[in-house]
């Protein structure tokens, strides 16, 4: 489910860890939502995104070279 403007925000930032290569674009594009672990792999916020966070979440999704990130309602 894609998040649209004006929609009740129930969206989360999620990852398919089997696709992630730890390149790290996401943590640069959305430092408020993504930190990295000791090996450079992303740790995502574990909560529903606030409306104001959707923009940077979408940036991280679009910037992932491995297409491992996505936004979805869980």
């Amino acid at each position: 489910m894609k998040a649209r403007r004006g929609e009740a925000p129930a969206d989360r930032l999620l990852i398919d860890p089997t696709n992630c290569d730890g390149i790290g674009m996401c943590s640069h594009l959305a430092p408020d939502l993504v930190t990295v672990d000791s090996w450079g792999y992303p740790i995502l916020v574990q909560r529903i995104l606030e409306r104001g966070e959707l923009r940077s979440a979408r940036r991280a999704v679009a910037g992932c070279p491995r297409k491992a990130l996505f936004i979805a309602a869980e």
Binding site: D16, T18, D37, S38, W39, G40, Y41, I43
Partner: protein
């Protein structure tokens, strides 16, 4: 009686004495020095022997299907592969998804410590295949698959013969297909099986929808452990009053023994029945390599059934029990296993691939007396970082084993930190480990 010596079904009002004694008639099956060929006084069942012992199964008509579903629910049967998910819930989910699904009997037993599925397939192949047939009919599956490890030619022979007997007798509405899994730790993980059957690699997958509603090519797919299926076959015959027991693999003294636990036994009695001693242990690894270490005092007196263990907050997992004597270094065993689990990563998810290795390295340094306090805080941090971040449960199982070892062997940890060693014995290899 037809040419195969197969008798038509006779309704058995109650389980005959042999069956009341359980799947393996409470007789131990030994895999000496971890040999793949079991030694036991129990004879394996060909089709006539199977029918003579358990009676023939009958196809499920609609009332029988409803009764089976009801009995599965009432018997509280849970998955015996280690997940302990309720069988009736999984079946309901597949029923909601509709007919045309895939049912898999998972006999690959990729938990290297376990041998109970191997023993069961070896001795009671038709009971497992009866359960597969019953479940396939119940959920109106159109494919049934028997999933086995490659590299086990003797067991493959047993099952090939059993399947041929059933084909000759025209026993199965949906003829089961054999599929062989590559020999690695995670090839029996259910999302890996689903992925492989759909033509992909045999590796765990990241999934958001359960396979029971959308699995192989979007078809509802159920993966059942073979012990679970054997119990389903008994429940079809005897309802929720079917004899219940638990198959355990006890690893001790360089042997593996599969034991069908008498429900009245305690864990100490069960282990004692194999090793000849029910004292002198400090701890037990319960469930499998990805299980939990328990203090002997916390587990010895608990009833040896999945339900009794669960009532004490113990997850019996795939039924593996690995006792550690008081003169053995438990931390060393834990570090060997941690290293093995790190090597067994499917190498797909970074936190598992790099994180488990890092955790195992710290444990290794600890047993060699090279770790400091700060390494233990590093271990804490790694554990928090890795938890819940794999596509499958492999890293979480490994972390749980490590965390419980650090807790149960806390005195050893202290001695290794301060003195470099605990001066306890380092016992020999374990199954799957060099």
């Amino acid at each position: 009686m037809n040419s195969t010596g197969y008798r038509p079904f006779e309704l058995l009002a109650e389980p005959p004495a042999e069956v009341r004694a359980g799947l393996l008639q409470a007789r131990p099956v030994t895999f000496g020095q971890y040999s793949p060929v079991p030694s036991t006084s129990l004879a394996g069942h060909d089709l006539p022997a199977h029918a003579a012992c358990f009676g023939n199964r009958w196809p499920l008509d609609e009332p029988a299907a409803e009764r089976l579903l009801h009995d599965l629910d009432r018997s509280y049967l849970t998955g015996r592969g280690g997940g302990h998910f309720p069988v009736s819930v999984k079946a309901q989910s597949a029923l909601r998804a509709g007919p045309g699904g895939v049912l898999v009997a998972n006999g690959s037993e990729s938990e290297p410590a376990s041998a109970k599925d191997h023993a069961l397939l070896w001795l009671r192949p038709h009971l497992v295949l009866d359960g597969l047939a019953a479940m396939a009919e119940l959920i109106e599956a159109t494919d049934a698959v028997l999933w086995l490890h490659e590299g086990d030619p003797d067991l493959l022979d047993v099952l090939t013969r059993a399947l041929a007997e059933r084909r000759r007798a025209g026993l199965d509405r949906i003829v089961p297909q054999l599929a062989l899994a590559p020999q690695h730790y995670l090839s029996g993980e259910s999302s890996a099986i689903v992925r492989s059957l759909a033509g992909g690699p045999t590796l765990p997958a990241f999934t958001r929808v359960p396979a029971s509603s959308s699995g192989v090519h979007g078809r509802p797919t159920l993966v059942h452990n073979v012990e679970t299926l054997a119990r389903i076959a008994l429940i079809q015959r005897y309802g929720s009053a079917a004899p219940d027991s638990t198959l355990y693999t006890v690893i001790a003294e360089g042997n593996r023994q599969v034991v069908e636990a008498d429900q009245r036994w305690t864990v100490a009695e069960l282990i004692g029945s194999v090793t000849g001693r029910s004292a002198g242990y400090q701890a037990v690894l319960v469930g499998g390599y990805g299980g939990r270490w328990m203090r002997w005092s916390a587990v010895a007196g608990v009833g040896a059934s999945h339900a009794a263990m669960a009532a004490h907050g113990i997850n019996s997992g795939a039924g593996v029990l690995l006792p550690i004597r008081s003169d053995e270094c438990g931390l060393w065993q834990a570090s060997q296993i941690a290293s093995y689990l790190a090597e067994s990563s499917a190498r797909q998810c970074g936190p598992c691939l790099f994180g488990l290795r890092a955790v195992a390295d710290i444990l290794d340094e600890l047993v060699e007396g090279a770790a400091r306090e700060r390494d233990l805080s590093r271990l804490q941090r790694y554990r928090a970082e890795i938890a819940g971040r794999g596509a499958c449960r492999h890293p979480d199982g490994a972390l749980g084993m490590v965390a419980s070892a650090m807790d149960v062997f806390a005195d050893d940890v202290d001695e290794h930190l301060r003195l470099g060693s605990c001066r306890r014995m380092r016992s020999g290899g374990l199954p799957g480990l060099a």
